[in-house]
């Protein structure tokens, strides 16, 4: 619950609405032991040690053999892989001019340079004019596109997806429309984004919102569709007698694994879309990638590509933590 990030990549997402019929808790080969108590007291040990409740179930975790060795091996191989990649890149770059292939060293230097370069900057919300590292300024520009687009698209997508998954009427009415609109790549709407909203933050946010909408729409829809009928019927016999209460108390929690997968996917896809949108809208990280490349400053271009990657890793990592907390009932 605390720490324990090693298990991140072991987790597999299940299909929405699955009920885990087996009796065995799906602890990733014994790597994690969640007692399910949810008290994040911090005393609870991750790893082989039995957490309080679990032997009472007769399901005491088998201490994973040589878990640390496995971890160490993984880390070692990972480091070796990165090292090998950098070495290959470095050697290849020796024989190429920097405008064709900048070396890792040049990229690192460019990254530092972008951090050092001061750029005029208006602090968001407060509105104070100041200067800030160019890299950060560009990042903030991108966040102006990314955050509103992601939030708007996600909220709307979940709302429509849940409505369609829950109500047969809504489903019948909207299925044809969604079938036609969904295959259209978000970026194809760029023309409308520009003429409706202009070459500005809103235009780019609009494109991101479209991307986030479909991802969340689909996940919410299939998540709600997958809620077992029996679960809903039980709730009904226990006194839930209106749709909104049923959605709030049963449907949303039951569909939450799928909904959260949608949100996490859109967090990642949102960055892909924002970069593409910015190639046209003309500011932010995506624009920097293209603009610097057009001036053959490939080292700077790669530095901005890495920024995207970093920002994605951070946001995805943070969301995974949230997800794991919310879905702790699911192992």
């Amino acid at each position: 619950m605390t720490g324990g990030d090693a298990s991140d990549d072991v987790r597999t997402d299940r299909t929405p609405g699955d009920d885990t019929p087996g009796d065995e808790p799906a602890t990733d080969g014994g790597t994690r032991v969640d007692a399910g108590t949810g008290t994040d007291g911090g005393v609870e040990t991750a790893g082989g040690a039995t957490a309080t409740g679990s032997d009472a179930f007769g399901l005491a975790s088998t201490t994973a053999p040589a878990l640390d060795d496995l971890d160490a091996r993984e880390t070692l191989l990972g480091v070796a892989g990165v090292g090998g990649f950098l070495a290959l890149w470095y050697v290849a770059a020796l024989f190429q001019p920097a405008y064709l292939l900048p070396s890792p060293v040049e990229v690192a230097t460019a990254f530092a340079g972008e951090l050092a370069a001061a750029e005029p900057f208006t602090v968001p919300v407060v509105g104070v004019e100041t200067t800030a590292p160019r890299l950060l300024v560009m990042l903030v520009e991108s966040l102006y596109h990314y955050v509103p687009g992601l939030v708007g698209g996600t909220v709307l997508g979940i709302a429509v997806g849940v409505a369609m998954g829950w109500s047969r009427t809504v489903e019948d009415a909207l299925t044809p429309v969604t079938r036609v609109l969904r295959p259209i790549p978000p970026l194809a709407w760029i023309g409308f984004a520009v003429i409706w909203l202009g070459v500005n933050h809103n235009g780019a946010a609009f494109i991101v919102a479209i991307g986030a909408f479909w991802i969340n729409f689909y996940n919410a829809f299939s998540g709600v569709e997958g809620v077992p009928e029996g679960t809903i019927e039980v709730a009904r016999t226990l006194g839930v007698d209106d749709d909104l209460a049923m959605i709030r108390k049963v449907v949303l929690p039951a569909a939450s694994p799928s909904i959260l997968t949608g949100i996490r996917t859109s967090i990642g896809q949102g960055w892909m879309i924002v970069v593409a949108a910015e190639l046209i809208v003309g500011n932010g990280l995506g624009f920097q990638i293209l603009n610097t490349a057009q001036n053959l400053a490939m080292d700077v271009s790669v530095a901005y590509m890495l920024v995207i990657s970093l920002v994605f890793l951070v946001s995805d990592g943070l969301f995974r933590r949230v997800e794991r907390r919310v879905l702790r009932w699911r192992a």
Partner: protein, 266 residues
């Protein structure tokens, strides 16, 4: 639990199934799932409905639960026609239907929250129910951490928490192994004795029916109808090896038209 003092309650059936028919119409024609089904469930009685697959016992169960409505006849609960599902008839069924995102205590709490039972009383009731089904110490466990038998005990605790007039059970022990099933039978009977609830239990398993029931409603298929209502005048606990028990099992199997066999159920 209360209300038995009411003079009427002893004579009036808890449930009255009156000439119930259920027809499903589709493009390919109509299917008569139930035809003129009639019987009473007496207050405090343990009634088991048994029959082969396709005899409409699940349809009957769902109709009494209020999840489906009959095409003919009607069903009365304490003299009032059933119009929909409600906490006066809570359900336990084979796939448990537990709320996976809620703990054991959270599952038991669900119906109480819906009824707006205030907090100190609610916690007390949850504790009682968990104790009743012997799940003390597992209040904070999630369903995935429980075995099939334990899951079903949560199902029973959750259903009883709302203090229903009728406990409806549809093949509740169909997914657990034979040994656990026998243990759960004993536990269910003691819960029943302790709470005095009226139980309507549906199964295809004749031996299970004989082990549990005060009376057995034997159904036949095509169309689903009542073949006979069998009184079970045997003391509990009933051992499967007891000749009287074995005889009755044979007799009910004969009514259903199953091959007589001494082979254990499976």
């Amino acid at each position: 639990m209360a209300g038995v003092s009411d003079a009427d309650a002893t004579t009036r059936p808890k449930i009255r199934v009156e000439g119930v028919g259920k027809r499903y119409d589709s493009e390919r024609g109509s299917v008569q799932a139930l035809s003129d089904v009639a019987f009473d469930v007496r207050p405090g009685e343990f009634l088991v409905v048994v029959g082969p697959s396709g005899c409409g016992k699940t349809t009957l169960f769902r109709t009494i639960a209020g999840l489906e409505s009959p095409t003919d006849g009607r069903i009365l609960l304490d003299g009032e026609p059933i119009t929909g599902p409600g906490p006066d008839r809570s359900m336990v069924f084979q796939e448990y239907g537990l709320f996976a995102w809620r703990t054991v205590a959270g599952n038991v709490a669900f119906g109480l929250e819906e009824q707006g039972v205030p907090e100190p009383r609610r916690a007390e009731r949850i504790r009682e129910m968990i104790e009743l089904v012997g799940l003390e110490g597992f209040e904070d466990a999630y369903p995935r951490e429980l075995s099939g038998g334990m899951k079903q005990r949560v199902g029973i605790a959750r259903a009883l928490a709302v203090d229903p007039e009728l406990l409806l059970m549809d093949e509740p022990f169909g997914s657990v192994d034979a040994q656990t099933r026998e243990m759960l039978h004993a536990e269910l009977l003691s819960v029943w004795a302790e709470t005095g609830k009226t139980v309507l239990f549906v199964t295809h398993d004749v031996a299970e029916a004989v082990a549990l029931a005060d009376r057995i409603v034997v159904m036949a298929a095509n169309p689903g109808r009542v073949r006979e209502v069998v009184d079970v005048d045997l003391d509990r606990p009933r051992e499967r090896t007891d000749p009287a028990v074995a005889d009755l099992v044979e007799r009910v199997r004969g009514l259903i038209g199953e091959q007589s066999s001494t082979r254990p159920r499976g």
